[in-house]
Symmetry: C2
């Protein structure tokens, strides 16, 4: 076999399983609970989304499972196009935005790619899987995990791609559109692929998307997800928006039928009902403020101001995040121990915002455990 | 970007959309019909599978769509392991077997791979997407599309991988287990990756699988699909069986969460009910014989003996397969024009076996059109 690109060096990492939250089934097994007895704060999934009529759409489309899904996602792309006001030829749908991260890495093969630390793990893995190497730009706790856009511009001089999650998971680091446009200008000039992951943007900053810019650009790919805001984590749906030439390049390498028929039907339905989107956005916003306020009042914890539907928290006592995760898991509460994020350590954990009663249960148990 | 592997040369092919059947939605649009008014003989999907209780399992598991799917597919792998009698560490689940073809090509990077012509298009595309080149072994019409295993053994001397679909789509070319074992012996000795796609094996030859051999081997990967026999085309589910080291290599590169929660639940359910599998196998077998008999009696058509749930047919009149497809589509009947298969021409079409009333409608319309 060819040795010139070497995904095999990557094998020491085995798989992504270790690097994510949302493993409530495994935790349930470990502590002798049923999966639905676990209150899962570890995955950033919007608990209001189950009021949007998603299950009814699945039921209505059940017979579709006996046919191949439309590999071109024609109806869904039509809806995305109308919802965002971008051309259909500028849109590509995937099995979650994760498929599109890997696809972009494969199509563009960057030798080096700039990635924040800490951030979502799969950017790093996608780059390494194609034989590239990550260049980490550390977000410093001493600066509240914020970073100046000029610092990013200086850091991209020796890379061929840059991944930014906006707002960033798990730190909430956020850039308004006008700041990122400065970066877009430079990446376009230097032909550096700029991948902006807007998976969490809709929670608080729906007006700050780069999608309209992306359709005019050559090197900008905006990724968006149904996993968090619409809670479609189990059904798998995401999409990318970019210039026609870039999308065509990705389509040329994309595997067929990755987006199942139910995800396509539900996605099209959700975007047809913008009034629902506004309603649940407001619900999440209010509850996020509430949870942040409550966490701020627990001695020994320092929550960072949320920019989406999750809160990063620093433990200021002797307790480690792993021990805290274990203690809470025994009580059926699952938080995200952040010690395996590059750039964080065993003093950090992340919680998703859930509904009031559940958040109160979290707060109560945190008070007793810290 | 790096030039050493060149997926970009592949871009001239754009996407897989042109190369498959099952596009009943597009055909419906073209002829002003509703998708459910089309009788789809173009995709090889088992129409008896909808009696297996699949929809009930989807309904029971609906709430799972709000959680990440288990990236390790623990429960499903347990069921597959029991069903096949192979170790759990020898199994990898994918978004259809198609995901695993592409994954294997990426992990193993064969410079050249032997592929039958005609056969399923995605083997060729998976190889090219990783910068490899296909070496075609033509199945000859003059020999009824059969081929001697010794001829394959001679043809693999300058390849690093070989893909065999058994039985082969669309020709039905079939090798019993003992013949393939001779090939396995040689590919193991020469360290040639041997990928056997058993997507259609369960229809007629359930006892001829190489899965038990695969778990002991180093270079053998057996692919199996829920798309055809269980008609889960729209939900996306397939799996691979291989030696522990090979599976570990694939897991190391696999993207997380590609298998949605409903597919996992349905797959585990289906394999727990072997009695259902036997029942629908017998139904398909009987109807396949009936349809083959009827097609044989239409002047101007030569059907090839079926080995699965589809029949390849040669047109012996002036009519082209594209014209025949168009004529039938206007009547709401969709067949698979085979003119875009490498190794076939515009005199071939393929039909899937459907239920009696539908098959009679096909036969009736073929008689009127030929």
């Amino acid at each position: 076999m060819r040795g010139d690109i070497s995904p095999l060096k990557y094998l020491e990492m085995k798989s992504s399983n270790y690097f994510h939250g949302g493993n409530h089934r495994e935790v349930a097994r470990r502590y002798g609970l049923l999966p639905n007895e676990i209150l899962d704060f570890s995955a950033n999934i919007n608990p209001w989304a189950n009021s949007l009529g998603i299950e009814k759409i699945v039921r209505t489309n059940l017979k579709e499972i006996y046919h191949y899904p439309d590999p071109q996602c024609t109806e869904l792309i039509k809806q995305i196009s109308q919802y965002l006001g971008v051309g259909r030829e500028n849109i590509l749908v995937g099995n979650g935005s994760t498929e599109l991260m890997y696809l972009a890495a494969r199509a563009l093969l960057p030798r080096r790619a700039l990635i924040f630390a800490p951030t979502f793990f799969e950017y790093e893995r996608a780059i390494k899987a194609c034989g590239g190497e990550p260049k980490f730009l550390f977000l410093k706790e001493s600066q509240g995990f914020s970073i100046n856009i000029q610092k990013i511009i200086r850091a991209i001089k020796d890379v061929e791609a840059v991944f930014i999650c906006n707002p960033n998971n798990p730190t909430g680091t956020f850039f308004p559109e006008e700041e990122l446009l400065e970066l877009v200008k430079i990446t376009e000039e230097r032909k550096i692929t700029f991948i902006v992951d807007e998976s969490y943007l809709d929670f608080k900053y729906p007006g700050e998307s780069l999608v309209r810019e992306a359709q005019k650009a050559n090197y900008l790919l905006v990724l968006r997800s149904f996993t968090k805001f619409f809670a479609l984590a189990g059904l798998r749906l995401g999409y990318g928006v970019g210039g026609g030439h870039l999308i065509e390049k990705l389509v040329g390498l994309k595997e067929p039928w990755t987006v199942n028929c139910l995800a396509q039907a539900v996605g099209a339905y959700l975007l047809r009902h913008e009034e629902n989107i506004k309603k649940i956005r407001e619900a999440v916003r209010k509850e996020t403020e509430f949870l942040f306020g409550e966490l701020s009042q627990i001695g020994g914890l320092k929550p960072y101001p949320p920019e989406a539907n999750f809160i990063l928290v620093r433990i200021e006592t002797e307790l480690s995040s792993l021990k805290l995760q274990e203690d809470l898991a025994k009580k059926g509460i699952l938080i995200r121990d952040c010690s395996n994020f590059t750039g964080l350590n065993d003093k950090f954990f992340r919680v998703a915002v859930r509904k009031r009663e559940e958040n109160l249960k979290l707060i109560d148990n945190l008070r007793k455990t810290i």
